[in-house]
Protein backbone atom coordinates (compact mmCIF):
# COMPACT_ATOMS: atom_id res chain seq x y z
CA UNK A 1 0.00 0.00 0.00
CA UNK A 2 1.40 3.37 -0.93
CA UNK A 3 1.73 6.37 1.37
CA UNK A 4 -1.00 8.26 -0.38
CA UNK A 5 -3.57 5.50 -0.08
CA UNK A 6 -6.65 6.60 1.79
CA UNK A 7 -9.16 5.14 4.19
CA UNK A 8 -11.60 4.01 1.55
CA UNK A 9 -14.35 3.56 4.13
CA UNK A 10 -14.62 7.34 4.53
CA UNK A 11 -15.79 7.70 0.96
CA UNK A 12 -19.39 7.18 -0.10
CA UNK A 13 -21.89 8.00 -2.83
CA UNK A 14 -21.72 7.90 -6.58
CA UNK A 15 -21.39 11.22 -8.35
CA UNK A 16 -22.35 11.99 -11.91
CA UNK A 17 -21.16 15.17 -13.57
CA UNK A 18 -23.94 16.92 -15.49
CA UNK A 19 -22.20 18.75 -18.34
CA UNK A 20 -24.03 21.79 -19.55
CA UNK A 21 -23.07 24.70 -21.75
CA UNK A 22 -25.36 27.74 -21.63
CA UNK A 23 -28.25 25.61 -20.36
CA UNK A 24 -27.77 22.81 -22.93
CA UNK A 25 -27.02 19.53 -21.23
CA UNK A 26 -24.77 17.06 -23.03
CA UNK A 27 -26.81 13.85 -23.50
CA UNK A 28 -24.02 11.67 -22.08
CA UNK A 29 -24.84 13.16 -18.64
CA UNK A 30 -28.24 11.44 -18.60
CA UNK A 31 -26.68 8.23 -19.89
CA UNK A 32 -24.35 8.27 -16.89
CA UNK A 33 -27.21 8.90 -14.45
CA UNK A 34 -29.00 5.79 -15.70
CA UNK A 35 -25.87 3.67 -15.46
CA UNK A 36 -24.86 5.09 -12.07
CA UNK A 37 -28.31 4.22 -10.71
CA UNK A 38 -27.43 0.56 -11.34
CA UNK A 39 -24.23 1.00 -9.33
CA UNK A 40 -26.01 2.60 -6.35
CA UNK A 41 -28.53 -0.25 -6.37
CA UNK A 42 -25.60 -2.53 -5.59
CA UNK A 43 -23.71 -0.28 -3.19
CA UNK A 44 -26.67 1.31 -1.41
CA UNK A 45 -25.06 4.73 -1.89
CA UNK A 46 -26.86 7.92 -2.84
CA UNK A 47 -26.80 8.95 -6.48
CA UNK A 48 -25.55 12.52 -6.59
CA UNK A 49 -25.56 14.75 -9.65
CA UNK A 50 -23.16 17.65 -9.82
CA UNK A 51 -23.66 20.69 -12.01
CA UNK A 52 -21.28 23.60 -12.54
CA UNK A 53 -22.33 26.66 -14.51
CA UNK A 54 -24.59 29.67 -14.34
CA UNK A 55 -28.38 29.63 -13.92
CA UNK A 56 -28.74 25.92 -13.21
CA UNK A 57 -32.28 25.65 -11.71
CA UNK A 58 -33.77 23.83 -14.70
CA UNK A 59 -30.74 21.60 -15.10
CA UNK A 60 -30.84 20.65 -11.41
CA UNK A 61 -34.53 19.76 -11.57
CA UNK A 62 -33.97 17.69 -14.68
CA UNK A 63 -31.18 15.77 -12.92
CA UNK A 64 -33.61 14.93 -10.10
CA UNK A 65 -36.27 13.92 -12.61
CA UNK A 66 -33.79 11.64 -14.30
CA UNK A 67 -32.79 9.76 -11.19
CA UNK A 68 -30.46 11.77 -8.93
CA UNK A 69 -31.20 11.66 -5.17
CA UNK A 70 -29.40 14.95 -4.70
CA UNK A 71 -27.92 17.65 -6.92
CA UNK A 72 -24.89 19.68 -5.94
CA UNK A 73 -24.92 22.99 -7.73
CA UNK A 74 -22.04 25.42 -8.13
CA UNK A 75 -23.74 28.38 -9.76
CA UNK A 76 -21.63 31.40 -10.70
CA UNK A 77 -20.82 33.49 -13.80
CA UNK A 78 -17.15 32.43 -13.46
CA UNK A 79 -18.17 29.01 -14.82
CA UNK A 80 -19.75 30.24 -18.07
CA UNK A 81 -18.41 29.59 -20.65
CA UNK A 82 -16.51 26.49 -19.59
CA UNK A 83 -12.81 26.74 -18.70
CA UNK A 84 -10.59 23.96 -17.38
CA UNK A 85 -9.07 25.88 -14.47
CA UNK A 86 -12.22 27.17 -12.71
CA UNK A 87 -14.08 23.90 -13.32
CA UNK A 88 -11.20 21.77 -12.12
CA UNK A 89 -10.64 23.84 -9.01
CA UNK A 90 -14.32 23.90 -8.03
CA UNK A 91 -14.84 20.20 -8.71
CA UNK A 92 -11.69 19.32 -6.77
CA UNK A 93 -12.81 21.35 -3.74
CA UNK A 94 -16.17 19.55 -3.76
CA UNK A 95 -14.50 16.14 -4.04
CA UNK A 96 -12.07 16.85 -1.22
CA UNK A 97 -14.77 18.18 1.07
CA UNK A 98 -17.51 15.64 0.40
CA UNK A 99 -15.47 12.51 -0.41
CA UNK A 100 -17.43 10.61 -3.06
CA UNK A 101 -16.48 6.98 -3.69
CA UNK A 102 -17.13 7.02 -7.42
CA UNK A 103 -17.18 9.96 -9.86
CA UNK A 104 -18.38 9.53 -13.45
CA UNK A 105 -17.73 12.16 -16.11
CA UNK A 106 -18.80 12.09 -19.77
CA UNK A 107 -15.88 11.48 -22.11
CA UNK A 108 -16.53 14.63 -24.12
CA UNK A 109 -13.79 17.12 -24.94
CA UNK A 110 -14.88 19.06 -21.86
CA UNK A 111 -14.95 16.02 -19.56
CA UNK A 112 -11.60 14.77 -20.78
CA UNK A 113 -10.19 18.29 -20.47
CA UNK A 114 -10.88 18.93 -16.79
CA UNK A 115 -11.09 15.41 -15.24
CA UNK A 116 -7.33 15.35 -14.70
CA UNK A 117 -7.45 18.68 -12.87
CA UNK A 118 -9.56 16.89 -10.26
CA UNK A 119 -7.88 13.47 -10.26
CA UNK A 120 -4.28 14.70 -10.11
CA UNK A 121 -4.46 16.89 -6.98
CA UNK A 122 -6.84 14.41 -5.30
CA UNK A 123 -4.47 11.56 -6.24
CA UNK A 124 -7.54 9.74 -7.51
CA UNK A 125 -7.63 6.92 -10.02
CA UNK A 126 -8.90 8.07 -13.40
CA UNK A 127 -9.87 5.62 -16.13
CA UNK A 128 -10.40 6.93 -19.65
CA UNK A 129 -12.98 6.04 -22.31
CA UNK A 130 -14.91 3.51 -20.28
CA UNK A 131 -17.54 1.49 -22.15
CA UNK A 132 -18.71 -0.90 -19.40
CA UNK A 133 -19.21 -0.29 -15.69
CA UNK A 134 -19.83 -2.50 -12.72
CA UNK A 135 -19.11 -2.48 -9.01
CA UNK A 136 -18.14 -5.41 -6.79
CA UNK A 137 -19.36 -6.23 -3.27
CA UNK A 138 -16.65 -4.08 -1.73
CA UNK A 139 -17.59 -1.05 -3.75
CA UNK A 140 -14.63 -1.34 -6.13
CA UNK A 141 -15.54 0.09 -9.51
CA UNK A 142 -14.88 -2.26 -12.41
CA UNK A 143 -14.22 0.20 -15.22
CA UNK A 144 -13.82 -1.59 -18.53
CA UNK A 145 -12.29 0.03 -21.56
CA UNK A 146 -11.19 -1.20 -24.95
CA UNK A 147 -7.44 -1.69 -25.23
CA UNK A 148 -5.14 -2.54 -28.11
CA UNK A 149 -7.44 -0.96 -30.68
CA UNK A 150 -10.57 -2.64 -29.36
CA UNK A 151 -9.34 -6.21 -29.51
CA UNK A 152 -9.35 -6.58 -25.74
CA UNK A 153 -11.50 -5.21 -22.95
CA UNK A 154 -9.35 -4.25 -19.97
CA UNK A 155 -10.81 -3.87 -16.47
CA UNK A 156 -9.18 -0.95 -14.66
CA UNK A 157 -9.33 -0.89 -10.87
CA UNK A 158 -8.57 1.71 -8.26
CA UNK A 159 -8.36 -0.16 -5.00
CA UNK A 160 -6.48 2.07 -2.57
CA UNK A 161 -7.23 5.58 -3.74
CA UNK A 162 -10.44 7.60 -3.80
CA UNK A 163 -12.45 8.76 -5.51
CA UNK A 164 -12.59 6.18 -8.26
CA UNK A 165 -13.01 8.39 -11.29
CA UNK A 166 -13.80 7.51 -14.89
CA UNK A 167 -14.62 9.29 -18.11
CA UNK A 168 -17.31 7.41 -20.04
CA UNK A 169 -17.65 7.29 -23.78
CA UNK A 170 -20.80 9.07 -25.01
CA UNK A 171 -23.53 6.94 -26.54
CA UNK A 172 -22.62 3.64 -24.90
CA UNK A 173 -25.46 3.64 -22.37
CA UNK A 174 -29.17 4.40 -22.70
CA UNK A 175 -30.19 7.76 -21.23
CA UNK A 176 -32.38 7.92 -18.15
CA UNK A 177 -35.95 8.99 -18.90
CA UNK A 178 -37.27 11.92 -16.85
CA UNK A 179 -39.94 11.36 -14.22
CA UNK A 180 -41.21 14.82 -13.13
CA UNK A 181 -42.67 13.36 -9.95
CA UNK A 182 -39.20 12.62 -8.63
CA UNK A 183 -38.27 16.32 -8.48
CA UNK A 184 -40.17 17.07 -5.28
CA UNK A 185 -38.40 14.23 -3.42
CA UNK A 186 -34.87 15.31 -4.27
CA UNK A 187 -32.59 17.92 -2.78
CA UNK A 188 -30.79 20.68 -4.60
CA UNK A 189 -27.76 21.75 -2.60
CA UNK A 190 -26.03 24.99 -3.47
CA UNK A 191 -22.32 24.64 -2.71
CA UNK A 192 -19.76 27.31 -1.90
CA UNK A 193 -18.07 28.68 -4.98
CA UNK A 194 -14.34 28.58 -4.28
CA UNK A 195 -13.20 30.12 -7.57
CA UNK A 196 -12.53 33.79 -8.12
CA UNK A 197 -12.39 35.32 -11.60
CA UNK A 198 -9.28 37.25 -10.55
CA UNK A 199 -7.42 33.93 -10.17
CA UNK A 200 -8.38 32.56 -13.59
CA UNK A 201 -5.42 31.78 -15.84
CA UNK A 202 -7.38 31.45 -19.06
CA UNK A 203 -9.89 33.54 -20.97
CA UNK A 204 -12.40 32.48 -23.62
CA UNK A 205 -12.18 35.09 -26.38
CA UNK A 206 -14.66 33.52 -28.82
CA UNK A 207 -16.95 30.54 -28.74
CA UNK A 208 -18.97 29.33 -31.67
CA UNK A 209 -21.05 26.20 -31.40
CA UNK A 210 -23.32 25.32 -34.28
CA UNK A 211 -23.68 21.68 -35.18
CA UNK A 212 -24.36 19.85 -31.93
CA UNK A 213 -26.00 16.92 -33.68
CA UNK A 214 -26.47 14.00 -31.37
CA UNK A 215 -25.81 11.02 -33.58
CA UNK A 216 -25.93 8.68 -30.56
CA UNK A 217 -29.72 8.85 -30.56
CA UNK A 218 -30.23 8.42 -34.32
CA UNK A 219 -32.32 5.50 -35.58
CA UNK A 220 -30.66 5.49 -38.97
CA UNK A 221 -27.16 6.62 -39.88
CA UNK A 222 -25.29 7.07 -43.12
CA UNK A 223 -21.59 7.34 -42.31
CA UNK A 224 -18.86 8.47 -44.68
CA UNK A 225 -15.18 7.62 -44.75
CA UNK A 226 -12.10 8.51 -46.72
CA UNK A 227 -13.63 6.93 -49.83
CA UNK A 228 -16.02 9.85 -50.40
CA UNK A 229 -13.00 12.01 -51.23
CA UNK A 230 -14.57 15.15 -49.84
CA UNK A 231 -17.80 14.87 -51.82
CA UNK A 232 -20.62 14.38 -49.32
CA UNK A 233 -23.42 14.79 -51.86
CA UNK A 234 -24.05 11.09 -52.61
CA UNK A 235 -24.12 10.24 -48.90
CA UNK A 236 -26.31 13.25 -48.05
CA UNK A 237 -28.74 12.28 -50.75
CA UNK A 238 -28.89 8.70 -49.42
CA UNK A 239 -29.28 9.96 -45.85
CA UNK A 240 -32.21 12.09 -46.97
CA UNK A 241 -33.86 9.15 -48.71
CA UNK A 242 -33.46 7.09 -45.55
CA UNK A 243 -34.32 9.95 -43.17
CA UNK A 244 -30.94 9.23 -41.57
CA UNK A 245 -28.31 11.31 -39.73
CA UNK A 246 -24.95 11.83 -41.39
CA UNK A 247 -21.92 10.53 -39.48
CA UNK A 248 -18.28 9.95 -40.31
CA UNK A 249 -15.17 7.93 -39.63
CA UNK A 250 -12.18 9.63 -38.06
CA UNK A 251 -10.49 9.87 -41.45
CA UNK A 252 -13.36 11.98 -42.83
CA UNK A 253 -13.37 14.18 -39.73
CA UNK A 254 -9.59 14.66 -39.83
CA UNK A 255 -9.90 15.73 -43.46
CA UNK A 256 -12.34 18.40 -42.31
CA UNK A 257 -15.23 17.06 -44.39
CA UNK A 258 -17.51 16.42 -41.42
CA UNK A 259 -17.64 18.01 -37.97
CA UNK A 260 -16.12 16.09 -35.07
CA UNK A 261 -19.53 15.98 -33.31
CA UNK A 262 -20.49 13.38 -35.90
CA UNK A 263 -17.49 11.09 -35.52
CA UNK A 264 -18.12 7.41 -34.82
CA UNK A 265 -15.48 5.20 -33.23
CA UNK A 266 -12.94 4.86 -30.49
CA UNK A 267 -12.10 8.54 -30.36
CA UNK A 268 -15.63 9.63 -31.25
CA UNK A 269 -19.02 8.35 -30.27
CA UNK A 270 -20.67 5.00 -29.94
CA UNK A 271 -23.87 4.71 -31.97
CA UNK A 272 -26.55 2.05 -32.04
CA UNK A 273 -29.00 2.86 -34.84
CA UNK A 274 -31.38 0.29 -36.33
CA UNK A 275 -29.63 0.84 -39.66
CA UNK A 276 -26.01 1.85 -40.24
CA UNK A 277 -24.85 2.45 -43.79
CA UNK A 278 -21.06 2.73 -44.13
CA UNK A 279 -20.14 4.63 -47.30
CA UNK A 280 -16.50 4.51 -48.37
CA UNK A 281 -15.38 3.41 -44.91
CA UNK A 282 -12.61 0.82 -44.84
CA UNK A 283 -13.65 -0.57 -41.46
CA UNK A 284 -10.67 -0.10 -39.14
CA UNK A 285 -11.24 -1.73 -35.75
CA UNK A 286 -11.33 1.69 -34.07
CA UNK A 287 -14.32 2.61 -36.23
CA UNK A 288 -16.10 -0.72 -35.97
CA UNK A 289 -15.93 -0.52 -32.20
CA UNK A 290 -18.15 2.56 -32.27
CA UNK A 291 -20.84 1.07 -34.54
CA UNK A 292 -20.99 -2.65 -33.85
CA UNK A 293 -24.03 -2.25 -31.60
CA UNK A 294 -26.02 -1.19 -34.68
CA UNK A 295 -28.95 -3.30 -35.85
CA UNK A 296 -28.45 -3.88 -39.55
CA UNK A 297 -25.16 -2.80 -41.08
CA UNK A 298 -24.84 -2.09 -44.80
CA UNK A 299 -21.46 -1.41 -46.41
CA UNK A 300 -20.81 0.33 -49.71
CA UNK A 301 -17.18 0.22 -50.82
CA UNK A 302 -15.32 -0.31 -54.08
CA UNK A 303 -12.66 -2.48 -52.44
CA UNK A 304 -13.94 -6.06 -52.11
CA UNK A 305 -11.23 -6.71 -49.50
CA UNK A 306 -12.19 -3.83 -47.23
CA UNK A 307 -12.59 -5.12 -43.65
CA UNK A 308 -15.94 -3.31 -43.36
CA UNK A 309 -17.59 -6.15 -45.28
CA UNK A 310 -16.74 -8.53 -42.43
CA UNK A 311 -18.63 -6.24 -40.08
CA UNK A 312 -21.66 -5.76 -42.33
CA UNK A 313 -24.85 -7.73 -42.79
CA UNK A 314 -25.17 -6.60 -46.39
CA UNK A 315 -22.45 -5.30 -48.63
CA UNK A 316 -22.30 -3.98 -52.13
CA UNK A 317 -18.97 -3.77 -53.91
CA UNK A 318 -19.11 -0.79 -56.19
CA UNK A 319 -18.44 2.87 -56.80
CA UNK A 320 -20.21 4.80 -54.07
CA UNK A 321 -20.76 7.71 -56.43
CA UNK A 322 -23.02 5.40 -58.47
CA UNK A 323 -24.39 3.11 -55.76
CA UNK A 324 -25.58 5.85 -53.38
CA UNK A 325 -27.67 7.78 -55.92
CA UNK A 326 -29.05 4.54 -57.39
CA UNK A 327 -30.07 3.32 -53.96
CA UNK A 328 -31.56 6.71 -53.07
CA UNK A 329 -33.57 6.64 -56.32
CA UNK A 330 -34.92 3.19 -55.57
CA UNK A 331 -35.78 4.12 -51.99
CA UNK A 332 -37.68 7.11 -53.31
CA UNK A 333 -39.60 4.77 -55.58
CA UNK A 334 -37.80 5.48 -58.84
CA UNK A 335 -37.58 2.74 -61.44
CA UNK A 336 -34.26 0.97 -61.87
CA UNK A 337 -31.91 3.22 -63.83
CA UNK A 338 -28.87 1.12 -64.32
CA UNK A 339 -27.65 -1.92 -62.49
CA UNK A 340 -24.61 -1.12 -60.44
CA UNK A 341 -22.14 -3.13 -58.47
Amino acid sequence: MSDDAVDVGEYEDVWVFVEEHGGEVMPVSWELLAEAAKLTETTGDDLVALAIGEGLETVADEALARGADRVLVADDPVFEPYRADPYGEQFRAMVEERKPSIVLIGGTHTGRDFAGRVAVPAHAGLTADVTELDVDDEGILQARRPAFGGDVLATILCEEHRPQMATIRPGVFEAAAPDPERVADGDVVSVDVVVDEADAISEVLEREVGDTADITEAERIVAVGRGVEGDLEPARRLAEALDAELAASRAAVDEGWVDGARQVGQTGKTVRPDLYVAVGISGAIQHVEGMNKSGTVVAINDDPNAPIFEHADYGIVGDLFEVCPALADRLEGEPIQEVTG
Binding site: D85, T108, D113, L126, V152, I156, E206, D274, V298, H311
Partner: protein
Protein backbone atom coordinates in the same frame (compact mmCIF):
# COMPACT_ATOMS: atom_id res chain seq x y z
CA UNK B 1 11.75 37.64 -24.76
CA UNK B 2 11.85 34.24 -26.33
CA UNK B 3 10.07 31.11 -25.17
CA UNK B 4 11.23 27.69 -24.13
CA UNK B 5 8.89 25.17 -25.71
CA UNK B 6 9.03 21.60 -24.42
CA UNK B 7 7.44 18.83 -26.48
CA UNK B 8 6.41 15.52 -24.97
CA UNK B 9 7.02 12.58 -27.30
CA UNK B 10 6.60 8.87 -26.71
CA UNK B 11 7.91 5.71 -28.30
CA UNK B 12 5.08 3.28 -29.07
CA UNK B 13 4.64 0.06 -31.06
CA UNK B 14 3.87 0.92 -34.68
CA UNK B 15 0.10 0.57 -34.82
CA UNK B 16 0.23 -0.19 -38.56
CA UNK B 17 2.70 -3.01 -38.05
CA UNK B 18 1.11 -4.79 -35.12
CA UNK B 19 0.61 -8.30 -36.46
CA UNK B 20 -1.49 -11.23 -35.31
CA UNK B 21 0.25 -13.99 -33.39
CA UNK B 22 -0.45 -17.09 -35.52
CA UNK B 23 -0.60 -19.36 -32.46
CA UNK B 24 -2.92 -17.37 -30.27
CA UNK B 25 -4.75 -15.24 -32.82
CA UNK B 26 -4.04 -12.25 -30.57
CA UNK B 27 -2.39 -8.97 -31.44
CA UNK B 28 1.35 -9.31 -31.19
CA UNK B 29 2.62 -5.93 -30.07
CA UNK B 30 6.03 -7.10 -28.92
CA UNK B 31 7.28 -7.74 -32.43
CA UNK B 32 6.04 -4.44 -33.85
CA UNK B 33 8.77 -1.89 -34.51
CA UNK B 34 8.96 0.98 -32.00
CA UNK B 35 8.19 4.37 -33.52
CA UNK B 36 7.27 7.87 -32.43
CA UNK B 37 3.60 8.13 -31.41
CA UNK B 38 1.87 9.56 -34.51
CA UNK B 39 0.08 12.48 -32.79
CA UNK B 40 3.43 13.59 -31.30
CA UNK B 41 4.72 14.52 -34.77
CA UNK B 42 1.85 16.96 -34.95
CA UNK B 43 2.73 18.22 -31.48
CA UNK B 44 6.29 18.83 -32.68
CA UNK B 45 4.97 20.75 -35.66
CA UNK B 46 2.84 22.89 -33.34
CA UNK B 47 5.89 23.54 -31.15
CA UNK B 48 7.94 24.57 -34.18
CA UNK B 49 5.06 26.82 -35.28
CA UNK B 50 5.12 28.57 -31.90
CA UNK B 51 8.92 28.93 -32.18
CA UNK B 52 8.45 30.45 -35.65
CA UNK B 53 5.98 32.96 -34.16
CA UNK B 54 7.85 34.05 -31.07
CA UNK B 55 11.42 32.75 -31.24
CA UNK B 56 13.08 30.53 -28.68
CA UNK B 57 14.01 26.95 -28.24
CA UNK B 58 12.15 23.67 -28.79
CA UNK B 59 13.22 20.83 -26.48
CA UNK B 60 11.81 17.35 -26.94
CA UNK B 61 11.38 15.19 -23.85
CA UNK B 62 10.51 11.54 -23.59
CA UNK B 63 10.05 9.07 -20.76
CA UNK B 64 11.22 5.62 -21.68
CA UNK B 65 13.99 3.07 -21.86
CA UNK B 66 17.40 4.07 -23.29
CA UNK B 67 16.40 2.96 -26.79
CA UNK B 68 13.66 5.61 -26.78
CA UNK B 69 16.54 7.93 -27.76
CA UNK B 70 15.56 7.16 -31.35
CA UNK B 71 12.35 9.23 -31.06
CA UNK B 72 14.43 12.12 -29.70
CA UNK B 73 16.78 11.83 -32.67
CA UNK B 74 13.76 12.06 -34.89
CA UNK B 75 12.50 15.11 -33.01
CA UNK B 76 15.90 16.76 -33.43
CA UNK B 77 15.85 15.90 -37.14
CA UNK B 78 12.46 17.61 -37.46
CA UNK B 79 13.81 20.76 -35.85
CA UNK B 80 14.00 20.41 -32.06
CA UNK B 81 16.98 22.32 -30.70
CA UNK B 82 17.64 19.84 -27.92
CA UNK B 83 16.15 16.78 -26.25
CA UNK B 84 15.96 15.06 -22.88
CA UNK B 85 15.65 11.35 -22.16
CA UNK B 86 13.97 10.68 -18.82
CA UNK B 87 14.83 7.12 -17.99
CA UNK B 88 14.78 5.09 -14.81
CA UNK B 89 13.70 1.59 -13.79
CA UNK B 90 11.79 3.29 -10.97
CA UNK B 91 9.24 4.48 -13.57
CA UNK B 92 8.11 0.91 -14.32
CA UNK B 93 4.42 0.35 -13.75
CA UNK B 94 3.57 4.06 -13.72
CA UNK B 95 0.02 4.96 -14.72
CA UNK B 96 -0.87 8.44 -15.96
CA UNK B 97 -0.56 10.01 -12.47
CA UNK B 98 3.22 9.52 -11.98
CA UNK B 99 3.82 9.79 -15.73
CA UNK B 100 2.35 13.27 -15.83
CA UNK B 101 4.17 14.14 -12.59
CA UNK B 102 7.49 13.15 -14.18
CA UNK B 103 6.87 15.21 -17.30
CA UNK B 104 5.61 18.11 -15.17
CA UNK B 105 8.85 18.12 -13.14
CA UNK B 106 10.90 17.86 -16.32
CA UNK B 107 9.01 20.81 -17.82
CA UNK B 108 9.77 22.81 -14.67
CA UNK B 109 13.43 21.82 -14.80
CA UNK B 110 13.56 23.00 -18.42
CA UNK B 111 11.88 26.27 -17.34
CA UNK B 112 9.37 25.67 -20.09
CA UNK B 113 6.95 28.44 -21.02
CA UNK B 114 4.92 26.06 -23.15
CA UNK B 115 4.61 22.26 -23.14
CA UNK B 116 3.15 20.74 -26.31
CA UNK B 117 1.81 17.18 -26.48
CA UNK B 118 -0.21 15.09 -28.89
CA UNK B 119 -3.88 14.57 -28.08
CA UNK B 120 -3.22 11.01 -26.94
CA UNK B 121 -0.94 8.05 -27.56
CA UNK B 122 -1.85 5.26 -29.92
CA UNK B 123 -0.88 2.55 -27.41
CA UNK B 124 -2.88 3.60 -24.37
CA UNK B 125 -5.08 6.41 -25.74
CA UNK B 126 -6.12 7.99 -22.45
CA UNK B 127 -5.36 11.60 -23.36
CA UNK B 128 -4.77 12.16 -19.63
CA UNK B 129 -1.12 13.13 -19.62
CA UNK B 130 -1.32 16.69 -21.06
CA UNK B 131 -3.99 17.87 -18.55
CA UNK B 132 -2.11 15.86 -15.91
CA UNK B 133 1.09 17.85 -16.53
CA UNK B 134 -0.86 21.10 -16.24
CA UNK B 135 -2.61 19.91 -13.07
CA UNK B 136 0.61 18.81 -11.33
CA UNK B 137 2.17 22.22 -11.97
CA UNK B 138 -0.98 24.31 -11.55
CA UNK B 139 -0.48 25.60 -15.09
CA UNK B 140 -3.06 26.54 -17.69
CA UNK B 141 -3.98 24.08 -20.43
CA UNK B 142 -5.28 24.24 -23.99
CA UNK B 143 -6.41 20.82 -25.20
CA UNK B 144 -7.81 19.87 -28.63
CA UNK B 145 -5.82 22.76 -30.11
CA UNK B 146 -6.32 23.30 -33.85
CA UNK B 147 -4.32 26.50 -34.22
CA UNK B 148 -1.97 28.49 -32.00
CA UNK B 149 -1.24 32.19 -31.70
CA UNK B 150 1.67 33.22 -29.48
CA UNK B 151 1.09 36.59 -27.81
CA UNK B 152 4.38 37.35 -26.04
CA UNK B 153 3.35 40.95 -25.37
CA UNK B 154 0.46 39.61 -23.23
CA UNK B 155 2.47 36.73 -21.75
CA UNK B 156 -0.19 34.44 -23.19
CA UNK B 157 -0.71 31.78 -25.81
CA UNK B 158 -4.05 31.64 -27.59
CA UNK B 159 -5.40 28.53 -29.24
CA UNK B 160 -8.40 27.63 -31.29
CA UNK B 161 -9.89 24.59 -29.51
CA UNK B 162 -12.11 22.01 -31.10
CA UNK B 163 -15.24 21.63 -28.98
CA UNK B 164 -18.27 19.47 -29.74
CA UNK B 165 -20.17 21.14 -32.52
CA UNK B 166 -17.86 24.09 -33.01
CA UNK B 167 -14.75 25.78 -31.72
CA UNK B 168 -13.56 28.29 -29.19
CA UNK B 169 -10.64 30.66 -29.03
CA UNK B 170 -8.99 30.61 -25.60
CA UNK B 171 -6.02 32.63 -24.36
CA UNK B 172 -4.04 31.15 -21.50
CA UNK B 173 -1.32 32.60 -19.32
CA UNK B 174 2.16 31.08 -19.49
CA UNK B 175 3.28 28.53 -18.57
CA UNK B 176 0.72 26.53 -20.50
CA UNK B 177 0.29 22.93 -21.67
CA UNK B 178 -1.07 22.47 -25.19
CA UNK B 179 -2.53 19.19 -26.50
CA UNK B 180 -2.83 19.22 -30.27
CA UNK B 181 -6.09 17.95 -31.81
CA UNK B 182 -5.83 14.91 -34.06
CA UNK B 183 -5.07 15.70 -37.65
CA UNK B 184 -4.00 19.32 -37.10
CA UNK B 185 -0.49 20.71 -37.74
CA UNK B 186 0.82 18.56 -40.59
CA UNK B 187 4.39 17.72 -39.62
CA UNK B 188 7.14 19.25 -41.73
CA UNK B 189 9.64 16.85 -43.32
CA UNK B 190 13.02 16.52 -41.65
CA UNK B 191 15.83 17.90 -43.81
CA UNK B 192 18.60 15.42 -44.62
CA UNK B 193 21.33 17.31 -42.76
CA UNK B 194 19.23 17.32 -39.59
CA UNK B 195 18.57 13.59 -39.95
CA UNK B 196 22.29 12.93 -40.23
CA UNK B 197 22.97 15.18 -37.25
CA UNK B 198 20.22 13.53 -35.18
CA UNK B 199 21.38 10.01 -35.89
CA UNK B 200 25.14 10.48 -35.79
CA UNK B 201 26.13 13.41 -33.62
CA UNK B 202 23.25 14.24 -31.31
CA UNK B 203 23.26 12.97 -27.72
CA UNK B 204 20.30 13.74 -25.48
CA UNK B 205 20.58 14.95 -21.91
CA UNK B 206 19.63 12.04 -19.63
CA UNK B 207 17.72 12.49 -16.38
CA UNK B 208 16.70 9.85 -13.88
CA UNK B 209 14.01 10.08 -11.19
CA UNK B 210 16.49 11.38 -8.63
CA UNK B 211 17.61 14.19 -10.92
CA UNK B 212 13.99 15.36 -10.90
CA UNK B 213 13.63 14.75 -7.15
CA UNK B 214 10.76 12.32 -7.61
CA UNK B 215 12.37 8.95 -6.86
CA UNK B 216 9.73 8.24 -4.18
CA UNK B 217 6.80 9.52 -6.22
CA UNK B 218 6.84 7.31 -9.30
CA UNK B 219 6.19 3.75 -10.37
CA UNK B 220 3.62 1.16 -9.52
CA UNK B 221 3.30 2.09 -5.83
CA UNK B 222 1.98 5.58 -6.36
CA UNK B 223 -0.19 4.70 -9.37
CA UNK B 224 -3.84 4.86 -8.28
CA UNK B 225 -5.05 2.55 -11.04
CA UNK B 226 -4.14 -1.01 -11.87
CA UNK B 227 -5.14 -3.30 -14.70
CA UNK B 228 -7.33 -6.20 -13.63
CA UNK B 229 -8.74 -8.68 -16.07
CA UNK B 230 -8.19 -8.59 -19.82
CA UNK B 231 -10.96 -10.15 -21.85
CA UNK B 232 -11.09 -10.85 -25.52
CA UNK B 233 -13.88 -9.03 -27.25
CA UNK B 234 -15.96 -11.44 -29.30
CA UNK B 235 -16.67 -9.98 -32.71
CA UNK B 236 -20.33 -9.22 -33.39
CA UNK B 237 -21.74 -11.83 -35.76
CA UNK B 238 -22.83 -10.32 -39.06
CA UNK B 239 -24.47 -11.91 -42.08
CA UNK B 240 -21.69 -10.80 -44.42
CA UNK B 241 -23.92 -11.11 -47.47
CA UNK B 242 -22.68 -9.35 -50.59
CA UNK B 243 -25.35 -8.30 -53.04
CA UNK B 244 -24.75 -7.49 -56.69
CA UNK B 245 -27.17 -4.65 -57.17
CA UNK B 246 -28.82 -1.99 -55.09
CA UNK B 247 -32.19 -3.71 -55.29
CA UNK B 248 -30.75 -6.42 -53.09
CA UNK B 249 -30.54 -3.85 -50.29
CA UNK B 250 -34.14 -2.70 -50.50
CA UNK B 251 -35.68 -5.56 -48.60
CA UNK B 252 -33.30 -5.51 -45.61
CA UNK B 253 -33.70 -1.72 -45.44
CA UNK B 254 -37.47 -2.00 -45.63
CA UNK B 255 -37.41 -4.52 -42.77
CA UNK B 256 -35.46 -2.14 -40.57
CA UNK B 257 -37.80 0.73 -41.29
CA UNK B 258 -40.94 -1.32 -40.73
Amino acid sequence: MTWTIAVGVKQVPDADEVGIDPDTGRLDRASAPAVMNGPDRHALEAALTIRDQVGGEVIAMTMGPPNATSVLEEAVAMGSDDAVLISDRAFAGSDTWPTSLTLARAAEALEADVVVCGEETTDSSTGQVPPGIAAHNGWAQLTYAEAVDARPEEGRLAARRDVEGGYELVAAELPVVVAVAFGEFDPRPAPLHRKIYGENDFEPTVWDAEALGIEDEVGLDVSPTSVGRMETVDPVERKGEVVDEVDGLLEPIAEVRA
